[in-house]
Symmetry: C2
Subunit: 148 residues, 2 copies
DNA sequence: GACAATTACATTGATATCAATATTAATAAA
DNA sequence: TTTATTAATATTGATATCAATGTAATTGTC
């Protein structure tokens, strides 16, 4: 007799076809690759673009709210800021009113890179959105927000 | 006069609110964290679960088709297999009919872990799906597939 | 059958991601 | 005002991700 546990192949097919986690990871990777490729001439990745765009505020941002907005761990944000700071696109200053906190802002060259990225974003985003049936984008955004 | 390029804050808000890339990355991270947390007692991440499930086939799989199915780069698959092989959950054998290729299969202990993960997947998936309006899951899957 | 082109996979280097933990500063309670 | 708690961020270690590139084996062409 065999003691080997076998998962029915039908279960595998069910998980493959229905798993929202797999579906969303897969779409996230594919969309990320499209934006990464389009932004590559600027030396930006999709994540760096989103991060820098979220720093484009009237007032410098603290780290916590930015991490929450992007739905990333705070430690991920710390790591993600390093290459941007090294390139001189983001400035990270201690907050004099709370010395635990940091003030995050775009430098002039950071703003210039981001401004150059906006038209690329528009074109790429239109291409991605065109892959969806008409009118589905808004509902998709709502559903993705519900999962976040 | 100032030479600093300023991106209108309204542009930032537009990108934040409408960017499908940001939305899907954010949802992917949030859903991944849920599954990772649920699967943690087994020592599995969501990605490892999906990978191992995709290896649960009647015949051993080659690397290329698995990478395509998961929409990951082939080099990512090479890296992702290493911890699974090290733990004895996946076997990676040369294909005698094509010595460039590999035969990927689950070991008995890999099958056991995967079998233990299935009920966890079911519960977690139901929780995630419950966050969506009734009937939206199927359309969401189709839209995510269209973006992949 | 030799050689060019293609295919399948691995390696390297950089960044992304998170859990666990540590550090430092602000706040609240005694 | 100590002291305990909470809050904001950093560090470490492991895995994930991809581009660029390298290696080896197969296939197609002559």
């Amino acid at each position: 007799m065999s003691n080997v546990i076998e998962i029915p192949f039908e279960t595998t097919l069910l998980v493959r076809d229905s798993c929202l986690c797999l579906h969303v990871q897969r779409a996230a990777r594919a969309v990320a690759r499209r934006f990464d490729e389009a932004l590559r001439p600027l030396g930006l990745t999709n994540g760096q673009f989103s991060l820098m765009m979220s720093l484009n505020r009237p007032e410098p941002a603290a780290m916590g709210p930015v991490a929450t907005l992007l739905a990333i761990d705070q430690t991920t944000l710390t790591a993600a800021l390093k290459p941007l700071e090294r390139r001189g696109w983001v400035s990270i200053l201690p907050n004099p009113k709370d010395r635990r906190a940091r003030l995050l802002s775009l430098t002039p060259s950071g703003k210039a890179v981001l401004a150059a990225a906006v038209p690329i974003w528009k074109v790429t985003h239109a291409e991605v959105e065109a892959r969806l049936p008409d009118g589905n984008a808004e509902r998709l955004r709502r559903d993705l927000l519900a999962l976040s």
